[in-house]
Symmetry: C2
Subunit: 334 residues, 2 copies
Amino acid sequence: MNKTDLITLAHGNGGRHMRELVDQLFSKKLSNPLLDTSVDACHLQLDSPDICFTTDGFTVKPLEFPGGTIGSLAIHGTVNDLAVSGATPKYLSLNAFIEEGMPFEQLERILDDMAQAAQACNVQIVTGDTKVLPVHEASGVYFATTGIGLYNPDFNLGMDKIRPGDKILVNGSIGDHGTAVMLAREQYGLSGRLESDSASVYPFTHALSKLEGVRFMRDPTRGGLATVSVEITRQAKLGCYLHSTHIPIKPQVESVCEILGYDPYYLACEGRVIAIIDAQQADQALSLWQQLAGGEDAAIIGEITEQPRVILETELGGQRVLDELEDDPLPRIC
Amino acid sequence: MNKTDLITLAHGNGGRHMRELVDQLFSKKLSNPLLDTSVDACHLQLDSPDICFTTDGFTVKPLEFPGGTIGSLAIHGTVNDLAVSGATPKYLSLNAFIEEGMPFEQLERILDDMAQAAQACNVQIVTGDTKVLPVHEASGVYFATTGIGLYNPDFNLGMDKIRPGDKILVNGSIGDHGTAVMLAREQYGLSGRLESDSASVYPFTHALSKLEGVRFMRDPTRGGLATVSVEITRQAKLGCYLHSTHIPIKPQVESVCEILGYDPYYLACEGRVIAIIDAQQADQALSLWQQLAGGEDAAIIGEITEQPRVILETELGGQRVLDELEDDPLPRIC
């Protein structure tokens, strides 16, 4: 590969090379009427002063995996944090930390994927910053995206709204992202066709906005379904009773977990939402979700109980306690 | 050093260790009424829907240097982007990319310095995210901060407002940050007492809000004064005529530049603002700045000309053209 096809330290120095990187790659690929890379900040005229503000960092390895790239993931991750908060995602900022020696071509593919995801999610990247790091002081590229969303006043969400008897729903199969990324790492010697579930959950959260029985929503990313459930027990001081036979898990995910000794309940999802809903409205919510593209596997997977712990009812009717994740690091999964 | 005193990959896994890192370090150090690390997003009720939105990444090496740390720098950098846009900085988000093996103690010192800077700048960190990266896939810690500010309606700023004859002002000596960071790197075999200028420029921008002759402001970070001047020539299609004898440069900065062959006009500042002001109001602006703490060395350093290039008048009355920065990378200067 020609040396001019690689990112160099000069692309981070504030001069001509940096301007070219920003103008010819970032600005071109992520173009929208609000993005002006010649200024340091963006002027936004919002429809409301009542905003939802969130941020997320992205370090997934490999940078490109079946079903997505770190580019689309950086859009979906922040869009989903806004969506589960009951907001409509609107504007994003973008930070890129790029390793010296990264091929331009790969960065270009990743930004194309990012631009496509932003368009599909109806969000605009309106301001950004790039830094270039010497070899071995980064790995490929890391992103941070920070999002502004506008609250949908129909929602009244909070851990404190959860009541015993409420139902626990998920909009699709769990563990797809974590498994797809593991398979994409050659170190495991496995391969497969499984795709990450990386996607916006906004259509799913928006679909529930007219149901006043929606108590709480969260996307089960790092730590998966088990971690969201444990957080509910910690913060709402209530329990989660999960029925393993109702939890959608793809056969490939089950197989990989069996081979590698992972637990699917702790694997990251990037296009899933867990919703806690009044039992009276759970069937209606499920039906709304199942009508959406990608919602075919949505399911009611459990209910909220009094005792603050997470119980998984196994296939054979036994009970297993799901604890907080300890020493099972899968670094750079998201 | 005990192994439990170092950041491990488990601090990034979404489980107990991550919760402890966030609760016991980030949340505790950066505490404010709006920061709730148990939720993924922050609800902000702004005073106006007209906002300034900006982001910046920070990778400075070493992480601690005379006059600051990467923590205070991450506050000042984003606060300054808001300030020079004519906004009052209000809220920040924080991303941390931490290298496995980083000493807790150092991260703690850096977060203390960050918290102190945030308080001094009157901004609150209201949401955040942490990621842990394996050894050699980062270097210490990188931050990204994204800021929201509220516009001061008194300002009417823009490159397009600049006119020939306008004066160019700076609020203090240039190149301190770049030089202090270079000196802090053992590789140069130099040492010195020079401190970075890292600070908020908001008091300086705010002081000018009542002068309708303020056309444009920018903080000369990467690429320094020369790069801001070149940007003016590129975008406003006007020239900058700078008087070297009027530009405040500390003797230590001059010496280091002579020894290492650097040009102070291209060195990063992190607490300086360049303002372009109607000639009629330049003296008044200068006097406002000189009355402020840290503004003693403020100076009128040049004027805007018709011909779109940057000319530096040397001490002996000669002229030197300052071009766009080419191949002079000082990686990880900010």
